[in-house]
C-alpha cells in the first residue's frame, strides 16, 4: 500500500518525531510507514488522517 504521509508531513512542516507524538507511535513506525514497509491499523490510519485533516483514502492508496 502506498501513502502520501511524507508529502503531507513536509507540507505541514512536521518532523517525523512530531508526527509520531501526534498520532501516538514511535518515530520508527513513521519511518516504516513513509517507506511503505508497514500497513497501519485502522486506528492509526484514522489518527494520521485526522492530523492532516483528510480522508483515509486520500492518504493511503491501495496498489
Amino acid at each position: 500500500m502506498k501513502n502520501r504521509i511524507k508529502e503531507l508531513r513536509e507540507e505541514k512542516g512536521y518532523t517525523q518525531e512530531t508526527l509520531a507524538k501526534m498520532v501516538g507511535v514511535r518515530r520508527e513506525t513513521i519511518v516504516f510507514l513513509e517507506q511503505g514497509k508497514y500497513n497501519p491499523s485502522l486506528n492509526l490510519a484514522h489518527s494520521v488522517a485526522r492530523v492532516f485533516k483528510k480522508a483515509i483514502e486520500d492518504i493511503f492508496i491501495l496498489d
Binding site: 509520531a20 507524538k21 501516538g24 507511535v25 514511535r26 520508527e28 513506525t29 516504516f32 508497514y38 497501519p40 491499523s41 486506528n43 492509526l44
Partner: protein, 180 residues
C-alpha cells in the same frame, strides 16, 4: 526514551548476573529481591518517560517473534529430549532433564493455546468467566502434577548400605556405592 531503554538493558544484565550467582550460592532470596527491585525501578522510570515506549508495530513484530520463539524452543527441546530419554539407562539424571524440557514445552504450548483462544474468541464471548475458571483449574492440576513428578517422592534412598526404592522410581538404582 533512549536512556530508559539503556537502563532496561543494564537492569536485565544485572538481573541475569544476580540469578546466576543465586544458583551458584543456592539461595533463592537473592533473585526474588532483585526481581522486585528491578520491577520497582523500571515501573518508576517508565512513568517518567516522555514518549511512546511501544506501539502497534512493536506489538505486531513482538507477536511474530514470540510465535517463532515458541516454535524454535519446542523443536530444539524435542530434538534434545528424545535422545536424553533414550539414554536414561546410562545416567538417570538424563530423564530428569528430559522431563523438565518436556514439561516446559507442554506448559509453554498450553499457555500459548489458552491465550490465543482467549484473545481470538473468548475475550468477546459471554462465557469468558467460565473459560478463565477452567483455565485456572487446569493450571492448578498441571502445577500439582508437575510438583508430584519433580518432588523426589519416587527416588532411591541409601539405607543401611543399600539402595532402597522410595515410591516407584522410574529409573534404576544408582550405580555408585551407597555410603551413609
Amino acid at each position: 526514551m533512549k536512556q530508559y531503554q539503556t537502563i532496561r538493558i543494564i537492569v536485565a544484565a544485572l538481573l541475569a548476573v544476580a540469578i546466576s550467582q543465586s544458583i551458584i550460592l543456592g539461595k533463592i532470596i537473592i533473585p526474588l529481591f532483585f526481581i522486585l527491585l528491578a520491577f520497582i525501578v523500571l515501573t518508576f522510570l517508565r512513568k517518567h518517560v516522555d514518549g511512546v515506549i511501544a506501539d502497534e508495530r512493536d506489538y505486531e513484530v513482538g507477536g511474530h517473534a514470540a510465535r517463532w520463539a515458541i516454535q524454535i524452543y519446542a523443536i530444539i527441546g524435542v530434538i534434545i529430549m528424545i535422545p536424553l530419554f533414550a539414554l536414561r539407562a546410562i545416567n538417570p539424571f538424563y530423564e530428569v532433564i528430559a522431563s523438565t524440557l518436556a514439561y516446559s514445552i507442554c506448559l509453554l504450548m498450553f499457555i500459548y493455546s489458552a491465550l490465543f483462544r482467549f484473545y481470538g474468541r473468548m475475550k468477546f464471548n459471554e462465557h469468558k468467566k467460565t473459560y478463565i475458571v477452567i483455565i485456572i483449574i487446569l493450571s492448578i492440576v498441571a502445577a500439582v502434577g508437575t510438583v508430584r513428578v519433580f518432588s523426589g517422592e519416587d527416588d532411591w534412598i541409601c539405607k543401611d548400605g543399600a539402595w532402597v526404592a522410595h515410591g516407584r522410581p522410574s529409573f534404576p538404582a544408582p550405580t555408585v556405592p551407597c555410603e551413609q
